[in-house]
Amino acid sequence: MIKKIIPFNNLYKTCNLASIILIIISLLLLLIKGLNYGVDFKGGTLIEIRTNDKNISISDLRKSFNKMNLGDVTVKHFGSENDFIVKFEKRNSNKSNFIEEIKNKLTNYIGDNYDFRRVENIGPKVSSELLKSGVIAIGLSLAAMLIYIWIRFEWQFSLGAIIAIFHDVIITLGIFSLFSFEINLSIVAAVLTIIGYSMNDTVVIFDRVRENLKKYLDIEIFELTNISINETLSRTIITSITTLIALLSIYFFGGQILKGFSLAMILGVIFGTYSSIYIANPILVLLNVSQKTILKEDKN
């Protein structure tokens, strides 16, 4: 049984160009439009409300909260018809009954047919610390990946894998910026997992590239990457499918709170799979990786 070889390498140039354009658009979005930070990173108050009265509309809630003098208030539906998320920047740490007062006022306006299901109230100092530690965590894991692959492979592989990861993370964040999806702590967790997953995918192909470099001494890297991609293709597809099954299941059935997290992961897995084929491998070609590159390694 001889498998048909799909010429992935014919599309290297086209896909690289497409990726560069996507990255530029994403970076522009991140620079100009920025990210929609949630209360975790911006500070402020978030209240999840469930109403038991169908007559309470989103505009009733909006009007009521606007009367409370809380600054900029946003009210949004959260999943079902009678679940709402209210966010505002004001918080008052000195007043311990701040939330109670809001509750009392709200009862005055719309009656008591509602529940505060969740309250988050985060001060400016804590939120900026959370943001900082999130950025540091992402930076650290990128550095750790870079070093690990450098130890296990040659620097050309390490560079290829890191550029692929940057590609995935930047485009995922670009999409979050474009649609103003909220960035909170769980998105940081998602980004870190994307880094791990994308690396995972790239490493499997790179491992095969290295093996084939030893096996086929007269095939050039351009062809060799294509052979390696094809040999690992069914694994790449099957693993992406099972991972996506799990993530889609979280997205559709795991509740509102995990929606952003699973969406970021889904995007990350799709781009991660794409980039291990179309970003990581062309970089090996670009850096002229050859049999000599890994022979050095064997001598050591």
Partner: protein, 518 residues
């Protein structure tokens, strides 16, 4: 790779069964102590409040410098050095001058490695205070280590008081921890409305009894203080007759004579003596009872109080009297606390999250199992059995360590289901390739396992690195995600290399003459 010794087989079986048993202990009750453990549910799943309190150390710094100022005066006087113009600057520095012929002596007293008045050098290679000196002028301010010591001790004290107050309210298994050197984390499982605890923790509860004076020339100095209701002011002496430290008990009580709720208190021996003396000499004066800089009430002393007990009136409701008594019993905080982060989840939202998490776990699991069976038939079944045991191992380990399961943690388990089959897929695909050139299935399987090993290890270690970094840097629910993801990787590797390999070995050796084995 397909060979297993008997010993190995039994150890794998025993290990797997033990952890599966531990998993089961979450659902059934066992008499056994070791296995009678449960996974803790995070606050986002069982509902409850998470409060992060920050200690405002500024008043402590000022207070300590004021004390130091008095100590310095006394200490140097004993050494026959008179400190002139001694004053507290900006609440953070002590300034003084000495006679010009005593500059060197003063310096050596302050900078000596064994200095009594400026300690810590032997311990930290740094004094408690930094000294600056221009000619005969000296400025003392807290050194880095001096400040760290101060913060640590005020954190220790605050932690103790916070614990007492939370315990007094009687919530279910609170979790109170230090964070950094100026924060305290309070987790209150099951508490839906943290309003009361917040208001209790928001008060320093610094209680003093001081006389109200008319003449402002009192030797201890005076200050103007507001009444609790904010309407009136009174001039109060700075001399403290009695403070909250002298209280040994306080209880709310209904006073039938005035038909009002009051707070009844008992004093320790020293306090009782002081109180008796002050009330004897001060009959007819008004005694201000001051809490956190506000006058609660100012009763006129009609007769000496010598029994060592008394009561505080002040328009209390029963609730506010109970709270004041609680605050007085638990003692004063060394410094005010600010709530810098608060997260509260209601119990019904927590239950909804658990239900949604379990539903998506079941759906994800079933779909992955169906897909693998369709794709790999018998070996798909092996992968699926492995997956089931993988979940048992994962939950079993989390249970043994009594880890905290959060909503993102459940997401981590579901993600493990999706990614765990990867290792088996890598192996099966490799075997498929090998079997094309190698007719003996045992050798083909063997080299399939061997050749896929580096890719599997590299791939899993990279994810493990991400999980570890998230564990170190992350907080709260996100940390729960990193735990399940990280432990999931380890159980995946175990189940793939021991359970799945064992099952594969058994199947392949029995069916080695079958065509198209995989």
């Amino acid at each position: 790779m397909l060979y297993f010794s008997k010993l190995k087989i039994y150890s794998v079986i025993i290990f797997t069964l033990l952890l599966s048993y531990s998993t089961a202990s979450n659902f059934f009750k066992f008499d056994d102590n070791f296995f009678n453990r449960n996974i803790n549910l995070g606050l986002d799943l069982q509902g409850g409040s998470y409060l992060l309190l920050e200690i405002d150390n500024k008043p402590v710094v000022t207070q300590q410098l004021q004390n130091k100022l008095i100590q310095l005066k006394k200490y140097f006087k004993e050494k026959k050095i008179i400190l002139k113009n001694i004053v507290l600057q900006d609440n953070e520095k002590i300034y003084f001058t000495v006679a010009r012929d005593q500059i060197d002596e003063t310096k050596s007293i302050l900078d000596n490695e064994d200095s009594e008045i400026n300690p810590y050098f032997q311990q930290f290679k740094s004094h408690q205070f930094n000294t600056e000196n221009f000619e005969n002028e000296f400025i003392l301010s807290f050194s880095k280590y001096g400040l760290i010591q101060l913060k640590n001790s005020s954190q220790d004290q605050a932690l103790e008081i916070v614990r007492r107050r939370v315990d007094e309210v009687g919530t279910n298994e609170p979790n109170i921890l230090k964070q950094g050197n100026n924060r305290i984390l309070v987790e209150l499982p099951g508490l839906n409305d943290p309003g009361r605890i917040k208001s209790l923790l928001g008060k320093t509860a610094n209680l003093t009894f001081r006389f109200i004076t008319q003449n402002e020339e009192e030797s201890f100095g005076t200050e103007k203080l507001l009444f609790e209701d904010g309407t009136e002011e009174a001039i109060v002496s700075k001399r403290i007759i009695l403070s909250g430290d002298n209280l040994i008990d306080a209880q709310p009580k209904m006073d039938n004579q005035i038909n009002e709720t009051v707070v009844h208190f008992n004093l320790d021996r020293v306090g009782a003596k002081k109180f008796a003396k002050a009330t004897t000499t001060g009959v007819g004066k008004r005694l201000a009872i001051i809490l956190d800089g506000k006058i609660i009430s100012d009763p006129r002393i009609s007769e000496p109080i010598i029994g060592g007990s008394g009561q505080i009136t002040g328009n209390f409701t029963f609730q506010s009297a109970t709270d004041l008594a609680l605050l007085l019993r638990s003692g004063a905080l060394p410094a005010p606390l600010n709530i810098v982060e608060e997260r509260t989840v209601g119990p019904d939202l927590g239950q909804d999250s658990i239900n949604a998490g379990i539903l998506s776990l079941i759906i994800g699991f079933v779909l992955v199992v169906v897909f693998m069976t369709y794709k790999y038939k018998v070996f798909g079944l092996i992968a699926n059995i492995t997956l089931i045991f993988n979940l048992f191992l994962l939950v079993g380990i989390l249970t043994l360590f009594e880890a905290t399961l959060t909503l993102p943690g459940i997401a981590g388990i579901i993600l493990t289901v999706g990614m765990a089959v990867d290792a088996n897929v890598l192996i099966f695909e490799r075997v498929k390739e090998e079997i094309q050139s190698e007719k003996n299935p045992i050798i083909a399987f063997d080299s399939g396992y061997t050749k896929s090993k580096t890719a599997i290890l590299d791939a899993n270690i990279t994810t493990l690195i991400a999980a570890i970094i998230l564990f170190v840097m992350g907080s709260g629910p996100v940390k729960g995600f990193s735990v399940t993801l990280g432990v999931g990787i380890i159980t995946t590797l175990f189940s793939v290399y021991f359970i799945a390999r064992l099952l594969t070995a058994l199947y392949v050796t029995k069916n080695k003459f079958k065509e198209n084995l995989i």
